[in-house]
Symmetry: C2
Subunit: 445 residues, 2 copies
């Protein structure tokens, strides 16, 4: 959508008034850095940035903090946003419904908004973009994906002249920490989740991370930007890492792979040349020589393939107070400059409006780990099952089993998700298959 | 410098007229992609992009090309630039003096400029930025550093709210190809240069690449952006890779390192707290577990450390017609949007105006490879020499030598470049030192 209102700017040297909504880890870092480096920010923005207030739900909780000392605390976010001397609203509260109301109110009042809220952007991008367009103001959200790693900006601007084919990202630090620790120690999922919690990498309730919901929000944002199409979190097929076992990791390692939770966004083309897109989050076998395999601990990385640019990767800290504050502050300078000098950042771009593919039609490859009856002829039977579904096998490895059973590890060639899924269902009922232990998708060759 | 003129924009849907100067590998890809994807570009820019002409020095050479078929070729660049229906000039000629004249003429005529010309930007950024500011137009040069890898944009925008501490980049694909091939095959510099030439990674005259001049231009641009200070190629200390031997590579490998040609930009602070900056290009020992060590073949990568963001890395194709065209096209969309909707991109930012440190004052570490007389007491003598210059040793390894000589490999702790250089001079005259074979700096621990 193109802007309908034009913002001529306040003029060089004008003050930009800022409201900060939320004063947790990110909000307090944002305020501290703005106060400490006020001169730098004035130079970079073209005029001084002045914080008019910091809205919190309970002022008592923040007594003695910098915001309190500066007399900035308020528990009336709605009034703060509407103040005439506020040009720019920074939303770092989290959650969806309450920040949605505040952000919409800010945009409709002609204030530009900077948010770090991936869940909000992934759920309500259309509504937010329309409000920003109608008021001719900016909506920035670099921090919503992979914190300080510039990826929203590069997709919106640097790659604006290119055609993105795919994006594959490690966009959740908690799950990467757990999987990386399982890979390096051989320990179980439960033990490494406990370790992540102990070290502060996982929250008390880790559901949003380990079930992939956080990554799915980011996948929706990345797919929207990459393919100029509106994609929400509901459009993203999502599987978490809770079923990954130490044996899965060990088997992957033995075959030259590691397991990562990836957010994958693909541009697809059917035989008739019709394009569609797919966004998905699931555990994925990645070859150990792939750049994404070497992203360790809680680091994030986004791998982009574009028609002209080829392969690009962006790597860094994907979470935490300081890295998130860095991204928020970069957006504040950007939105602030537009308030001073006029102009607007590129807004939502949805002109391509590509259909979302059925998940069953997405091409992928499976790694299937099953326990089979160790008798002569079992391989022939299984091969027939794969062939009947049109699936060809890439590798078959046999692990030593217990007693008279064997563990069979099969990697398929690329096929439709639905055909692969149907094959797995048939395998489960095959006489020679005792159990299908795990099914993990593969990328990257 | 802040803009003095304000550009209100032509309005949504307006056509942006474009002049392309130069029709080599990059120029022809830019034209092709603009023609093939015209609808996409119109959506992304907010109005159609129309190429008004392609300026070349000799039209005869380009008969039958797309530019010829479209009737766009002209040998009069000066007139093309000044046409009233040209809003945006794309400079992909290369060289310095002639493109400088054309780019200045374009900016002074109120045309925004997109250039891929690192040598021009590194040599004349001040003059170009002033001309752009006076006319209130944009100067974009994402392609000047590492082609399609977004790094100019991220430094200018995404990290605008952060404090960059250092930038270390592999910004020259030719030298990375040669050093990577030496590392993986054990072959000599001359052999791998010949291989690079044969495969098209090195030009017939490889001087600008192998002597580090190309990387020095990029270092100047990166340091200017990172530190908000004007840095030209003349401010960059520059050493190439022509003296790197197979033995250097093998010794580095044995110690867990690889050798990369790095462009290093540092923010320094003396005891009194005064800040300065240094930009340098030289072969560098990088630990093999450092992300930059895993950048192979002709790929580029830029590693950035910032106060709040922490460590970031940008990786991808740093050269070639298509990747360079991708960056140029992204800039065309950005500059085109500003022509349509008004506003300007962030211009040159030099407010910090930090002094350039003397190269002798830069802290670094040395790896010194020398042949010594293999007698008892030689280690004691050498240790004294280092101590006399205030240098402490980190590791000392002895290789087996020929006859009665030994090869000694010393890694120092961090010290001032001038003290390390003086130590090497003293070593050369020491009775027990037969030869100082090589001195290579180190980074990354």
């Amino acid at each position: 959508m193109t802007p309908t209102t034009f913002n001529p700017g306040k003029g060089a040297g004008s003050t930009v008034g800022i409201a900060i909504l939320g004063y947790g880890t990110v909000g307090s870092q944002v305020l501290r850095l703005m106060v400490e480096n006020a001169d730098e920010f004035a130079h970079r923005t073209g005029g001084p940035l002045e914080v008019r207030g910091v809205a919190v739900s309970n002022k008592e909780k923040h007594v003695g903090t910098l915001a309190d000392e500066l007399g900035l605390l308020t528990d009336d976010a709605r009034s703060l946003i509407k103040r005439d001397d506020v040009d720019l609203v920074v939303e770092v509260i989290g959650g969806i419904d309450y920040p949605r109301e505040l952000v919409l109110s800010a945009l409709r009042s002609g204030k530009s908004v900077v948010t770090a809220n991936k869940a909000l952007v992934a759920a309500h991008s259309a509504e937010l973009a329309e409000a920003a367009d109608q008021a001719g103001v900016d909506l920035y959200f670099e921090a919503a994906v992979a914190a300080a790693i510039p990826v929203v900006g590069p997709l919106r601007r640097s790659l604006a002249g290119d055609q993105v084919q795919s994006v594959a990202g490690i966009v959740n630090g908690t799950t990467n920490f757990i999987l990386d620790a399982m890979d390096s120690t051989g320990a179980s999922y439960d033990d490494m989740l406990a370790e992540a919690t102990r070290l502060g990498y996982a929250e008390a309730d880790p559901t949003a991370d380990v079930e992939g919901y956080d990554a799915a929000s980011k996948a929706a944002i990345l797919a929207s930007l990459a393919f100029h199409t509106r994609v929400t979190a509901d459009d993203v097929h999502c599987e978490g890492i809770t079923n990954i076992t130490a044996h899965d990791i060990q088997a992957a390692k033995a075959a030259g792979y590691t397991i990562k939770l990836l957010a994958i966004c693909d541009r697809l083309k059917d035989e008739a040349g019709h394009e569609s897109i797919a966004a998905r989050v699931h555990p994925t076998l990645v070859p150990r020589n792939h750049p994404l395999a070497n992203v360790h601990k809680s680091f994030n990385a986004i791998f982009v393939e574009a028609e002209a640019a080829g392969r690009l990767m962006f790597y860094g800290n994907g979470a935490g107070g300081n890295p998130t504050a860095s991204a928020v502050l970069g957006d504040i300078v950007g939105a602030g400059r537009n308030k001073v000098f006029g102009g607007r950042a590129p807004g939502e771009s949805t002109y391509a409006n590509l259909p979302i593919a059925n998940f069953g039609d997405v091409p992928t490859r499976f790694h299937i780990d099953m326990t089979v009856v160790d008798i002569i002829g079992v391989l022939a039977e299984l091969t027939k099952i794969f062939a009947a579904h049109g699936i060809s096998l890439r590798t078959v490895r046999q692990e030593e089993g217990t007693e008279k059973n064997a563990r069979l590890l099969v990697m398929t060639h690329e096929a439709k998700e639905s055909d692969l899924a149907a094959t797995v269902e048939t395998l489960k009922d095959a006489p020679s298959v005792i159990k299908v232990n795990s099914v993990i998708r593969m990328v990257g060759e």
